[in-house]
């Protein structure tokens, strides 16, 4: 099954992700698009800095996509994630899942983004007006 995992310093492309996931005979595509909030906790956010443990992040993403493939009847699965500086309003992550039926696409997409947040070794530092802080570094 086609899977496209990328961790990149380049801007993410929603149209290209959609086009890749939508090719073929699928009946739907479910897409999750993250966005860097321009403000958080009453602070003006300038950008997020994403740090990635690359070897391990790739492996963990492969585990997640393998589980998704086994658990749902899906056609294509795309996970693109940014590394480095991502400005407010920009896109740090895209998950796109195509399937014959919506339930599989929606559930698989939810599973991928929820699991990505908890197991893939990626961290974000919020740089705001007047300071910076690792986000949720203290659970």
């Amino acid at each position: 099954m086609p899977v496209d995992i990328q961790i990149t310093k380049n801007n993410l492309d929603i149209k290209a992700a959609m086009a890749w996931a939508a090719s073929g005979n699928s009946g739907c595509v479910n897409i999750f698009i993250g966005r860097v909030r321009p403000s958080a906790n009453e602070r003006v956010v300038r950008y997020l800095e994403f740090e990635v443990y690359s070897n391990m992040a790739q492996k963990e993403l492969e585990k997640i996509t393998n589980t998704a493939i086994k658990s749902w009847n899906i056609d294509k699965l795309l996970v693109h994630h940014r590394e480095g500086k991502v400005d407010a309003g920009e896109i740090p992550v895209i998950i796109a899942v195509s399937a014959s039926h919506r339930r599989d696409a929606i559930e698989a997409c939810q599973y991928v983004i929820n699991t990505l947040k908890t197991t893939v070794p990626i961290w974000k530092k919020e740089v705001f007006e007047g300071g910076e802080e690792w986000v949720s570094a203290h659970p």
Binding site: Y53, N55, M56, W123
Partner: protein, 77 residues
Amino acid sequence: MIVKILAFGIAKDILGHRTVELNLDDGSSADDLRAMLKTKYSALPEFMLAINAEYAQDDQIIRRRDEIAIIPPTNGG
């Protein structure tokens, strides 16, 4: 034995470096190393350890050439 440890996210700030070296008894487990790190760097939040880019089991024995990493709570996306 001397082992090299990678630190990411807030752990890198607390340790002050991307990599540190620690002297560990032969036969030490991931749990032993975690306890040592907690004592040495008390400001560290809860964290996992990875050995060779996989989450470590508590009783996993550390070997000299292993790539060890401190994994504070992740939050990609």
